[in-house]
Symmetry: C2
Subunit: 192 residues, 2 copies
Amino acid sequence: MVEKAAAPLRADAERSVRAILEAAERVLAVDPGASMEQIAVAAGVARTTIHRRFANRQALIEALATSAARQLAQAVDDGRPDTAPPLVAMHRITANVLQVKGAWTFALSQGDDPDSEAAALQLDIARRCVAVLARAQADGLIDEKADLDWVRRVYYALIGESLHGGDDSDTDPDTLAARIIDTLLHGAGPRA
Amino acid sequence: MVEKAAAPLRADAERSVRAILEAAERVLAVDPGASMEQIAVAAGVARTTIHRRFANRQALIEALATSAARQLAQAVDDGRPDTAPPLVAMHRITANVLQVKGAWTFALSQGDDPDSEAAALQLDIARRCVAVLARAQADGLIDEKADLDWVRRVYYALIGESLHGGDDSDTDPDTLAARIIDTLLHGAGPRA
DNA sequence: CGAAGATGCAACAGCTCTGATGCAGTTACC
DNA sequence: GGTAACTGCATCAGAGCTGTTGCATCTTCG
């Protein structure tokens, strides 16, 4: 209801919505059970304002997930997954995704409702991800016998792990992306 | 207070505690914000009984995390990480850990309080994990230049991903463990 | 068997969160 | 500049969860 944008929001209202979504991400990432009040304070907004824009807590979270998924899809697109050479695409996409996922940890950790827009986006992203991997496979970068869906899952896991970032002094997306792809393709074993 | 076992619990009481912990895992895995009442029902116990054994919700969760961490440590020990050949140890440990982590998803996903017993156990487990990797490295299974802490994190991530189990028709721990170790050591790239 | 321990049940007070409403003041937009 | 939208604030009722207590009953264990 809220997202359908049947009636275009006024400029200040749109600003509020953005502030609320960003605050929700910040607050819920720390405490997933945080109250609407806490989110409101973090957003510099009255609690009632949140309720005016989002009927439920769930509606808010759904909007949050959708917003983040859209940005994630954009991050993938920006890497030119269909045209750039596979290795280049993978590197760029990884670096982009790392930034988005880092900024929307909570939003992207929500198990999306199967028939939500967020879920559809995630599915499409996975599809394009596998497509890139298939191109890499065609180029001989990935073993021809490899199960691409498993490779994709490993790829996701490596990204997730990189974000937890232990005592990584190195948080440069490009550096992290390089390590992810290197690990994905070669593992930890000895180099030839 | 509850865990110190200063006063050994009566047999029926201990049974209750186990039932509560197992129910808590089951219920909280589905809904981390579930109420004590829901847990009590799932445990076949009155809510007041839970409060008699665990002062807080937090105390319950802490006990849950500690219990699971102990089982995890046991799973590692059972793989003879210090004596068995590295590859054998890794495989056995992985298979064992998969089972424990699968059964205690929620408990082991809690970010443990830094000075809790659970945290100490997790730290010890990580230490022993790196030790096994170091032995594998000495055997030439892992590149000599590899950052073992990163390798350990990748290993953890692969285990976690394997548990999410997409449409894996194959849920046999040994099969999954084999894939994990293969991926960890060789990645997805073409084989020699 | 008997005492100590454990449990279920019912009831209670206290707290927090939710969602809604009315109103007065401000802000954006035509 | 005026209207419509937006917001903050105060307030409200309702709901749910928590943690505790008292008491009667059942179970364990010596």
